[in-house]
Symmetry: C2
């Protein structure tokens, strides 16, 4: 996948892929490469470019004043880095970015991004859709987390996916436990208890809701 293509795929989703392949990227950009282990950005760096990770894998790490690492996340290409921060009030990198493999990054200046947004509504929609979807999934996850008990999380999750009394967890118990921020055996146990209490049926990732009222009582 060449860089232009990648760029259009990620940021300008309105055109079909074959059409994109024939487009010439007219956006002013630079391409930088980093060797494994190199720093791509330091925490607190002013963000004046859009960073599109086009090849490789990076680690973003939040370091405190005293040098302790308190948060870490790995990101694989293709993915834009810190998109939200480019336009945020405090437009500094919130974390250090280190190349975990050899990486290629497409840099587009804030001015170029603004120019492109003004020129191409598709680019605007792509950029907005990206940050919007990101905010949306953060907010979804936060709603799950704000349910205090595991059974409440389950109730919230399956009620959201309720299709005429049936639900599909859409992922295995191990991942779901991680998504909920709880231990797998604890989630397993909670589901078992809800089945035993006749509130739901459950088998192999899918199930049925038997008592809506009981589920509702777990919430909030």
């Amino acid at each position: 996948m060449n860089s232009d293509l990648l760029f259009f795929c990620t940021m300008c989703r309105e055109k079909p892929l074959d059409e994109i392949a024939n487009l010439k990227c007219t956006i002013d950009h630079k391409i930088k490469t980093y060797k494994k282990g190199e720093y791509i950005a330091f925490q607190g760096d002013h963000i004046s470019n859009l960073y599109m990770l086009s090849k490789g894998k990076v680690k973003m790490e939040i370091i405190t004043d005293s040098g302790l690492s308190i948060f870490m996340e790995e990101i694989s290409a293709p993915y834009p880095l810190a998109t939200a921060f480019l336009f945020a009030e405090d437009n500094c990198f919130p974390a250090e970015v280190v190349a975990l493999e050899d990486c290629e990054i497409i840099l587009i200046s804030k001015q170029a991004v603004e120019k492109q947004i003004a020129k191409c509504p598709g680019f605007l929609r792509g950029y907005m859709a990206f940050t919007a979807n990101q905010a949306q999934s953060l907010s979804d996850r936060l709603k799950i987390f704000s349910q205090k008990s595991i059974k409440a999380k389950i109730a919230y999750y399956i009620l959201q996916r309720d299709k005429k009394g049936s639900f599909d967890l859409e992922q295995n118990i191990t991942s779901l436990a991680e998504y909920f921020g709880v231990e797998r055996p604890s989630l397993s146990r909670a589901i078992s208890e809800m089945v035993k209490d006749g509130i739901i049926e459950y088998k192999g990732g899918k199930g049925k809701i038997l008592k809506y009222d009981s589920l509702k009582e777990f919430l909030e």
Copy 2:
């Protein structure tokens, strides 16, 4: 505060207030008013306008297929509603919006928003800054929630605010407990134990970090 002013204050933050006051709002918009109890939007409605709540207070409520309310949030003017969703892939209202008081809403069509964004970089920055800041605070909160134990949440929170060995909680214990999603006495107890163990000093919202290593051990 007139509607134009409100609009510029919220979405176009680059100009000083006195300058804003003299501006004429050239953005194509409609103003709608709703009586207390009226529905402003239904869950699933297609979002084709930016909704600026300029007066009043609304309730956003997520209702499941089966009619259960599983999430609720109150929003007071001035505040834009569902900004992220206007450009999201699934651009439907995620919740019902009901007027809790008599409300006024400024409606700006997606086309008008795009036009304005293309025309006025300040508007773009305002819009982006808003969604970006929103995403940022969601993400901050999610990091706290993803720390499993209360002491880990405390450790993460104060390390983030560490200024040369001192920290300031910036809010009272009651609010902080709510922010963490735990009970107040539980938070109180956890802090007391950390003080007793000589890990931190604490008094009236402020404190000092005595053992960085012990704090670090709580994380993740």
